[in-house]
């Protein structure tokens, strides 16, 4: 009789331990998932804010000095007027070292990469009129694509900025 009692206690304990373990594992898995989501969300929000700010000052401001060249640039801005891009400034940008431009855009401290693509709105295919930077690699963890409407060479064009983190 006393042996049977011990068996019951043992079975009870085993079931309790199994249940407890399942619950603890479930909580750990859920908490880990939650933390991952939270971290991804924070990184995405940070890149998103930087991408919109970057696209804003590239397409709406003229930079510093106003008529900068590849040797005199202090602040990057690609516009002659609000949303009207300057061909001369885009040509000067192409002459600048990519890593140097990351410093000018203050994105080197975040370890971001970027690419700029301008396409003619009226051409459905092969309408690329300008490109610069490094396109997102397939292994990039977070990529933010911003699409802005601009005037370039007197045509309405699409200015696409990809800001990404590898």
């Amino acid at each position: 009789m006393s042996n049977k009692k011990a068996q019951i206690v043992s079975l009870d304990l085993t079931i309790a331990i199994v249940l407890f373990s399942i619950i603890v594992i479930a909580i750990i898995v859920f908490f880990d998932l939650f933390l991952n989501r939270l971290q991804t969300n924070l990184i995405e929000t940070e890149i998103l804010n930087n991408a919109f700010a970057m696209s804003d000052f590239l397409v709406t401001t003229s930079g510093e000095p106003t008529k900068w060249s590849n040797t005199s640039v202090r602040v990057l801005g690609l516009a002659d007027y609000d949303r009207v891009l300057s061909e001369a400034k885009l040509n000067n940008l192409s002459k600048l070292n990519y890593n140097y431009t990351k410093g000018l855009l203050k994105i080197d401290i975040f370890d971001y990469d970027y690419s700029i693509l301008i396409t003619d709105l009226n051409k459905t295919s092969q309408g690329i009129v300008y490109s610069y930077g490094i396109s997102p690699s397939p292994s990039a963890k977070t990529v933010i694509k911003i699409r802005r409407y601009v005037i370039f060479k007197n045509e309405t064009s699409i200015f696409e900025l990809d800001l990404w983190k590898g």
């Binding site: 009692k5 019951i8 206690v9 009870d12 619950i23 479930a26 909580i27 859920f30 908490f31 998932l33 939650f34 989501r37 939270l38 969300n41 995405e44 929000t45 998103l48 919109f52 696209s55 804003d56 397409v59 007027y81 609000d82 949303r83 009207v84 709105l121 009226n122 933010i144 911003i146 699409r147 802005r148 409407y149 601009v150 005037i151 309405t156």
Partner: protein
Amino acid sequence: MKPRFLNSIFGKDRKGIVFTLDVMLGIMVVLIILTFGSVYLSLASDEKLGQLQLIRTGNDILAILDYKAILQSQNETLIYNEMKTMLPPNMDMQILIEAPSSATQTTMQPPPKGLIVSGSRVIYINGNYAKAKYLAWYR
């Protein structure tokens, strides 16, 4: 005589189940909070990108129409057609121009529900300042 372990479930020693139930409820609440938190985080991120993109597109279109002096024409059809050439397929927009002596509005009406963003720009028409406003939304 009922065995003691059965008493703990069905009998007079049922106090233990109260604690178990308490723990189970506590765990369920934690799991529910974590699940809802994860879902909310992913939804909030998507919504923020969509909203910011909508605002920028609206502002860009208004600025380009201003630069091309199409807003200044106050021609509703011309404004609508030019706006349509720029609008992405998943987006719609309404433009309203309030000049001192007149008002022009494009025909597209915003939906009663859903995300709608707005913005405005001061423009210059025939020597007077006017206000160009837009409402933009996803289809």
